[in-house]
């Protein structure tokens, strides 16, 4: 089932166009990877999906992006509600400089999702368990979040993102700042999370895209060159450029 449909999405920063006529359909409850060389527009596209490009003044987005049959680029779309349904994890782990508990509790608090402290405790515990972090932090929920290791911080950010039960999780190079073991833990987490969430991950590592995703899109200079099942893209891509990129023949 198609969760997200992007139609003719164009993005420009001032006079410089960053994305050209992107058309892509994202499958529900699967992991879709977006790959491509630096500056190709994959992060820009990712940020369109939760309207994070709004914070950049000179950025103009045109086209339509339908999520659950609702065009999120419409003026009437409530960005705050949208971001409750679409969570984001960033490249460098950025937990709030508050306690671990408060980090997770922030989202549900501002969206009014819990009625009592007991409910909130449960939300915190569930989120941390789903993010495979509970056992490591359950005795220090009231210590500050920035005191954890890099991998733990990123899992904390993932737990924070899933605390509001989003339908889609966007990940912008989530493992690029982590060591291989932490990376493997995050990849395992992604594998589990896809059972309940649609996940879109931007990554520089083709090996990672091949490992975690079911579908892959290849971006180059603002164009979506090829989009298909990960199987096909990495064994027998249709487009020459795609093949050149994934085999290291670029440049």
């Amino acid at each position: 089932m198609k969760k997200i449909n992007a139609k003719n999405v164009n993005v420009a920063y001032g006079s410089k166009q960053a994305l050209f006529d992107i058309n892509i359909d994202i499958e529900e409850k699967q992991v879709t990877a977006l790959i491509g060389p630096s500056g190709c527009g994959k992060s820009t596209f990712l940020r369109c999906l939760n309207r994070m490009n709004d914070v950049i003044d000179i950025c103009k987005v045109t086209g339509e992006i339908y999520i659950n049959d609702f065009n999120i680029l419409d003026k009437k779309c409530d960005v705050v509600r949208l971001r409750e349904k679409i969570g984001m994890v960033f490249q460098k782990p950025n937990p709030f400089p508050k306690t671990i508990y408060e980090n997770i509790a922030y989202g549900p608090t501002i969206h009014g999702m819990t009625q009592s402290k007991a409910e909130m405790d449960e939300v915190v515990e569930t989120s941390l368990k789903k993010a495979a972090l509970w056992n490591e932090v359950k005795d220090r929920l009231h210590e500050v979040g920035t005191g954890l290791s890099g991998g733990q911080q990123q899992r904390l950010c993932i737990a924070r993102a899933i605390s509001v039960r989003p339908e889609v999780i966007l990940m912008d190079e989530p493992c690029s700042a982590l060591d291989p073991i932490a990376t493997a833990q995050i990849e395992e987490l992604i594998d589990e999370l896809k059972n309940e969430h649609t996940i879109i991950i931007v990554t520089h590592s083709m090996a990672q895209a091949a490992r975690v995703s079911q579908n892959t899109g290849f971006f180059h200079l603002g164009n979506l060159i090829e989009y298909g099942s990960t199987d096909k893209i990495f064994k027998n891509p249709e487009n020459q450029k795609t093949q050149d990129y994934i085999t290291g023949r670029f440049g």
């Binding site: 990495f234 027998n236 093949q243 290291g248 023949r249």
Partner: protein, 232 residues
Amino acid sequence: MNTNTPHTVKSYEEELKNLNNNIVKMGTLCEEALRKSINALITNNADEADKIIKNDEEIDKFENLIEQQVVNLIALRQPLAIDLRETVTALKISSDLERIGDLSKNIAKRSLLLSSNLSKNLIDILNTLSENVQKQLKSVIDSYLERSSSMAINVWESDEKIDNLTNQCMQASIDFLKEDPKNLQNGTHLLFVSKNLERMGDHTTNIAEQVYFLVKGEYLEGDRPKNSEIGK
């Protein structure tokens, strides 16, 4: 799709080229072994036969070398798409080529055991069969070298012809057996030689399938054209 742009990392490009060259060299050695083994059989040349048996070591060495290269490429380069297909097919092709080498060695060994000269009829039929097998082998190695899927398909489809010729050869050998009880030893060897040639034909067809997969990224559909009825 072509692979004109070289890899950014030159050593990777070198390694793939090296692998390619090794397959071609191994194929050339096999071609030679086949040609010479039939020659030794027909001319009853014991020295030639001994040389062929010894040279099979070279072919085996190539198979080991190629296997090592393939394992290294997978571990160290994590090849994808076309590079992955190159690596995997090289492994399988070298295995088929090694079998072809072994079968040629077997023919050479049998030539040492054949006691007398053969009749012209038998020689002609053997020649025809072996020439066709040689042609198949050459074609398939060329198709690998040129990455031509059409040439590979030709080889694949021509296997039926090899089967027909083999049947003729085997029938002739059986007739030879029936002629004279003294022909039992020779006749039996000839039967095995025919069978070896047919098996070599099958291996070249295997290689053709690998070449097609290498170039197209898909598997050849359907059963290969076959004719396995003896006597037809």
